[in-house]
Structures are given as C-alpha cells and as structure tokens.
C-alpha cells in the first residue's frame, strides 16, 4: 500500500510522530520532578503533613508519566539508526558523544534513584530520600541539557570539520559544539516551557478541586503555588522566546521568514502578518491580516528596516511555510493566554479572592493542557523550520535516510501509531483518574509498594467523579 509513497516522507512522519509523543512526557517530568523536590523540601523544613500529602499525590502521577517517558524515549535512541542511517553515520562522531553523555550523566542518574524515590520512603532515611528526589530532578535537567545541545547543533552547526568519509567530526574541541550558537536560547526556552507546562497542569488540577470544594486545603496550596509560577514565569518565557527568535533570525533567517509568512521581501519595512493562508505552491500569503511596519519593529527594532523574504532564498532551500506559520501562532497565542491567566491570578490574589473566583478556576482548568500543546507546536515550528535539512545548511533530509523500502517504513509507522495511541491513550486516562481524586490527608503511597500487603493496599483512585476537563484536547 506504500509502493508509491516516498520512504523519506514516511520516515519523517515516523520521527515526527514518535518524538512529538515522547516530548510530552519529559516536558511534564522535568517540571514535576522539580515540583516534587520543592514539596519534599518544604515538608522537611516545615514538618507540615500537607506537603507530604501533596508529594505522595503527585509522585503517583509522576510514576505513570515517567514510565511512559522511558519507553517512548528508548524508541528515540534507536530511531536515528533505523530510519536515518546516513545521518547517523555522518553526524554520529559529533552528536553521538553528546547523547552518550546524556545516558551516562542523566538517564542512569534518574533510573538509579527513581526506585528509591518511588518505593524507598520507608527503607531509607528522610534525608537520603530527599537526596534521591533531588537526583531524579537534576537528572531530568541534565538530560534536557544534552539532548537540546544535540538538537541545537543540528539547527546551528558549529565547531565541525568534514573528514574523507564525509563525516562531521569535531574541529577544535567540544565547547564550540556543545555551546553552539542557538543552544543557550533553546535550552532556556525549553526548560522554562517544561516548568510552565507543569505549573499549568498542577494549577488545573488544583482549580478543578477548588471548583468542587473551595475549602479543600490541598487544592488551595497547589493552586496557589501553580499560579505564582504561571504569573512569574509566563512573562519571562515571552521575553526569552523573543530572544530565541532574534537568535534564529541571525542564524536561520529562512525559518523566521516562514514563521512570519514573508514570502516576499519588504525593502521599505515589513508588516506583521497576524493571520493568513500560506500558499507554498504560489509562494504567497493569501487573505493576510497584517499590521504595517510592525514586523520590522519586532525583528529589527526599527519601523523602516528592510526585511528579506523567502524570494531571497533558493527554492530548493525553502522550508514549508504552512506548518511553521501556524504552529508558531498556536504557541504564541497560548503563551499570551498563559500570561493572562498569571495576571488574572495576581489580581485575584491581591483582592484576597484567589480561592473564590470561579471564573479564574474555570480558566485555569481550561488552560491545563495548554502547556503541552504549546510545547508540541513550538517544537514543530523549530523542527519543520529546519527543513529541508537535518544538519542545517549542510546535510539534506532527503540524503539522510536509511536505505529502506517504503513498505517497511510504512508498516512500522502504522505499528507505532496504533501502539502509541492505545498505550499512551490508556496512560493518559489513568493520569486523569489519578488527578480526578483530590489529595487527602494521609495520602496513600504508591500502590505497589513492596512493603504493603495486597489486602491493605489502598485501592488506586478509581473515577469516583467525572473526569476533569483538564484532559480535554
């Protein structure tokens, strides 16, 4: 059934699909691991049982998300070889060591201490358990560091030479490779995105339980913590995102042209195109809604600055505008909604009504999944915007793929799609079930604690109430 299909296109779908699914989980675990570390630290410092209850509540959710992250991440470490053999051969000497460092410094650290974090509360002392939580949290961050360095190098390759076999090899040490031009911006932007995503998910769960019972102590605490995070971090994220964009303009101008929808150059100052229908075949923006000169102001901080369009880029080097243009608008739109939620919560807090304003709580519930959507949208913007290259400007996507027949790639793509939707769909359902139950005083521990006898293991949270809207979308 795939005989006429393009094997490279199918391989791209497969990578895009598996990594988009995977990315959801670390985006949550990076933030959640830090949140758990904060909760446990607060418990150790204040001795308040409330923090321990919240810790145990979110730990059960963390365990499910982490398991899904591990299994979908394992797939990623083999996707490079199965579907992108030429890329692996050529770029392996540069990106391989960075990924090996990710395994050695991050994955083992997370996995080595996860067992103690999940099951060891009664087996080791409080200090040692907190240490385990910290190691898992630090591990998630280190993992982000290395893999985003790899990704950034593919976007803005630096510090390489090309050897006789056509491989990229390090030219003068590793620092220029690791700290390539887009890396600091991408790392900051992505890690903040993970924190913000987690804050919105935690806030939505808190808000959901406040809507049912505004006196619920645990719901109040997590909602308040999450709203502080949203109010403080959302504006920072918008500023960081702007800087990331300017960095991209400098190193990958064609991607910014696609983001902005600038098919043609504007020597006299470019408009900001708010919306429109990009037409890649005709290379023009249809039905554009635009604000004159604002594009130049944002990109060049000057109303009259000339802005180049895709007409200055060779046709074979142009990224597809449609996906980049729209996913960017989804991300930015959600970013401003997050800012609005943060500001709204500050107003409510100032008025002393943080736990009473039901419209705020409903808004927070609706925003629960927004972080995940924004993360995926932003990821698609930057990855599709890198096209038609895997290593930007140097190695074409069409020349990176494995020598596989289309039916093999198509069949495995179908297998991944079916399994991922079934397995991670069920997993998401279990997460919603866990979230739909409010945290309790003396919150039960993880259900399969070895020390717990089967007879007295508290029943896992079965949906006693309807599912929270936080999961919609």
């Amino acid at each position: 059934m795939f005989h006429d299909a393009d094997a490279v296109l199918l391989a791209r779908f497969q990578f895009g699909f598996t990594i988009s699914f995977h990315f959801i989980f670390p985006a949550f675990t990076i933030g959640l691991a830090s949140y758990l570390a904060v909760l446990e630290a607060l418990w150790l410092r204040t001795g308040k049982a409330l923090y321990l209850d919240l810790y145990k509540y979110w730990l059960k959710i963390f365990a499910v998300v982490f398991a899904m992250g591990v299994v979908s991440g394992l797939v990623m470490s083999y996707q490079f070889g199965t579907n992108w053999a030429v890329f692996s051969d050529r770029a392996g000497p540069v990106i391989g060591p960075l990924m090996a460092y990710e395994v050695l410094t991050a994955f083992f650290l997370e996995a080595g201490f996860l067992g103690v974090m999940l099951f060891g509360m009664k087996k080791v002392g409080r200090g040692l358990h907190f240490f385990a939580t910290l190691m898992v949290a630090i591990g998630t961050f280190i993992s982000a560091f290395w893999i985003l360095s790899v990704n950034s190098w593919m976007q803005t390759p630096a510090g390489y030479a090309i050897n006789a076999q056509g491989q990229f090899v390090p030219a003068d040490g590793w620092l220029p490779i690791i700290f390539n031009p887009s890396f600091p911006f991408r790392l900051t932007h992505t890690v903040i995105a993970a924190y913000l995503t987690t804050a919105l998910a935690v806030g939505a769960v808190g808000a959901w339980h406040l809507l049912k019972d505004s006196a619920q102590e645990h719901a109040r605490k997590m909602f308040s913590m999450a709203m502080w995070m949203a109010a403080l971090v959302a504006p920072v994220q918008i500023l960081v995102g702007d800087q990331h964009g300017l960095n991209t303009l400098q190193h990958q101008p064609a991607k910014i042209m696609a983001v902005e929808g600038h098919y043609r150059s504007h020597p006299e100052g470019a408009p900001l195109i708010l919306f429109g229908i990009p037409d890649d075949d005709a290379q023009q923006m249809k039905y554009a809604v635009e604000i004159p000169r604002l594009g130049s102001l944002i990109l060049k901080h000057d109303l009259n600055a000339p802005v180049d369009g895709l007409d200055t880029v060779a046709p074979e080097n142009r990224p597809p505008v449609k996906v980049v243009f729209w996913t960017f608008r989804v991300m930015v739109g959600l970013g401003f909604l997050m800012l609005a939620l943060g500001v709204y919560s500050l107003v409510a807090r100032w008025a002393g009504r943080l736990y009473d304003w039901r419209v705020l709580h409903r808004f927070a519930v609706l925003m629960g999944p927004s972080g995940f959507i924004a993360v995926i949208a932003g990821w698609m913007t930057t990855e599709v915007g890198r096209q038609p290259f895997t290593v930007y400007g140097l190695l074409r996507t069409a020349e990176s793929a494995s020598p596989l027949a289309a039916p093999a790639v198509g069949a495995s793509l179908i297998a991944f799609v079916v399994v991922y939707f079934a397995v991670f769909g069920m997993g998401s359902w279990y997460l919603l079930k866990l979230m739909s139950r409010a945290p309790q005083p003396h919150e039960p521990e993880h259900a399969n604690l070895p020390a717990h006898a089967a007879g007295i293991t508290p029943a896992p949270a079965l949906g006693t109430s309807s599912r929270p809207e936080a999961g919609h979308g």
């Binding site: 591990v70 392996g92 395994v103 050695l104 999940l118 069920m426 070895p450």
Partner: protein, 334 residues
C-alpha cells in the same frame, strides 16, 4: 583518525554495557516471560515487585548500548540498525508494553488481566527479538559501501529463530533464579520448578547455537578451532560443564543465591564465546571495529566521562539494589 587503543577500549565498554543489559534486563524479561505461570494475586504481585524498583535502571544499559554504538562506531550503528529494522522495531514495541505495565497494572484493577498479558507478551516479544537480532548479526548482513544493502526480511532464518528461542529460555532461567533468590514461600517454590524447566532447555539451546555457529562461515570455524586458539577455546565448554555440575548441586541443596550467580557465569562465558566469534568485526566479514570507529577526538572525549561516570553509576546502582535487598515482603512480612 581513529586510534587502535581507544577503539578497543570502546569495544570493551560497549561489550560491557550490552552484557550488563543482557543479564540485568534478562532476569526482568525472564520474569515477564513466565509471569502468567504464576497464579493471579499475591504471587504475581510479588514477582513484579521484586523488579519494580530496578527495571528502569536495568533497561538504561540498552540505551547506553545503542547510544554508545552511535557515538563510538557510527558506521556500525547505521548499518546494523537498518539491517535489523523489523525485529528492532518489534523489540521496542514489546518493551513499550512491558515498561508501562509496571505502572498501569496497579492503576486499573479492572483491566489487570490485560496488563498482565501486555507485561508477559511484551517481555516475550522483546526477548525473542533480541535473540533473533543476535542470530541475524552473527550470520552476517549484506553491506555495500557504507550502507546496508539487503532486504527487510533478511534477518529471518532458521538460525536466527534458534538464537531467538535460546535467548527466551536463557532469560527464563535468569528470571527463575532471580525469583528463587528474592522471594519466599509459594512463589519461591514455583520459581524452583521453573528453574528445573528452563535450566535443561538453556543448556540444549547453548549447545545447539554453539554447534551451529562455526558452520555459518564468516571465519568462525577458524577463530575457534585453529591452533593455538583451540587450546584456549576448548576450555570454554569445559568450564560450562563444571558450572552445570555446580548448578545441579545448588538446585538439589535448595540454595537461594548460588543458582543465580552460576547462571550469570554461564551467560558471561557465552558472551566471551560470542566475542571470540566476532572479534575484530562488528558486522561479520564487512565492518571491523577499526573501519567503523569514530575519530579519536570523539572516542577520547567520551572516555574521559565514561571512566569517571561508569564506576559512579555502578556504585549508585549497587546502592539501589542494596536498599531493596532481601526477600520481597508478602502479606504480614512488614
């Protein structure tokens, strides 16, 4: 330029990572394979709980095997992963089901039977595919230039099916020995019965694979039986015979730990045997370690980290096992 010394060190580190994976996830997957032989309820819960705190760390060695191969021998990584495409994808999907079952099983009592099948079936598929991949690699893959040039069913042969089945029973033995060590009561008695089933099967499988391998071509015969190599290689079956004798004795005396350790030793020897067959090739007859090696600057950069981090990883992994030492508690064994 590649450096011979560095290249050999990296071959050693990767062999170590793969061996760690094989034995550590070996008993996890083995428990999965035989999981449904245990009665629903306490025994299954105990079997799973005995590995719940450590399976994730065990699986990480597989990530190191893949990531390390990409980093140290990118050409071999790209050729092998393309050649083993179908069994590799099947293994990954099997590991998806196996991995999530650790959590999902407890979250959904109404569908626990389903997740038990997922756990067991996922483990079986992963183990079988790992064995098939081993056989497919041993029998050789078709390489032209710097790329795999075979079809996408080349891996499927009687020999690869034999190695597939062998790995399944070998993992089964490891899993049964682990449970014999880590559990008590009924579960341990069941594990002992399974040991008696899997131990002879493993021996037969080992003999069959060892007998078939030298006749695959690829110079294996010469590597085993030419003088003076044969003086060394002849000891391998001898040591296996001694280990088998000790194993039977430990079974008779109902030792807890000894059968597990002896099985690890058999796995270790088999692994050495594989090394004898393969070295200095990564892909038989076509890609040597030297050809596939990343430049010394890449391998050296990683070696700095690995020489510090691998001992550190082993230390905290050992600590984690130590925290969960002893028999897994049953009802009333607080």
């Amino acid at each position: 330029m590649a450096d011979v010394m560095l290249t050999n060190i990296w071959a050693g580190i990767l062999a170590f990572a793969v061996f760690m994976y094989v034995v550590m996830d070996g008993f996890d997957l083995g428990i999965g394979v035989m999981f449904r032989a245990f009665p629903v309820g306490r025994e299954r819960d105990t079997a799973m709980n005995s590995i719940a705190p450590v399976w994730d760390g065990n699986e990480t060695w597989l990530v190191l095997g893949g990531g390390g191969l990409l980093a140290a021998f990118p050409l071999a990584y790209s050729v092998i992963m393309s050649a083993l495409y179908a069994p590799l994808v099947a293994m990954l999907l099997g590991l998806v089901f196996r991995g999530v079952a650790f959590e999902f099983r407890w979250r959904d009592p109404a569908h626990r039977a389903f997740w038990d099948i997922a756990f067991s079936g996922g483990s079986l598929v992963a183990a079988l595919m790992q064995g098939i991949m081993l056989g497919a690699l041993l029998q050789g893959v078709h390489v032209e230039g710097r790329a795999y040039a075979g079809g996408w069913w080349d891996w499927l042969t009687p020999f690869s099916l034999l190695t597939g089945a062998s790995v399944v029973v070998g993992y089964g033995l490891l899993g049964a020995c682990w449970l014999n060590w880590k559990t008590a009561g009924e579960t341990q008695l069941h594990a002992r019965r399974l040991m008696r089933l899997f131990a002879p099967l493993t021996l037969v499988a080992l003999a069959a694979v060892s007998a078939a391998t030298p006749f695959l071509g690829n110079e294996y015969f010469a590597r085993w039986f030419s003088m003076p190599r044969v003086l060394f290689t002849a000891q391998v079956p001898l040591v296996i015979a001694i280990l088998t004798w000790r194993f039977v004795r430990s079974l008779r005396r109902n030792y807890d730990l000894a059968p597990f350790v002896l099985t690890l030793a058999v796995f270790g020897l088999s692994f050495v045997g594989l090394g004898i067959s393969m070295y200095p090739y990564l892909v038989p007859n076509s890609i040597t370690l030297d050809m596939a090696a990343a430049p010394a600057s890449s391998q050296g950069f990683m070696l700095v980290g690995a020489s510090i981090l691998v001992p550190l990883i082993l230390a905290y992994t050992a600590w984690s096992y130590w925290v969960f030492r002893g028999k897994v508690a049953h009802e009333g064994y607080h």
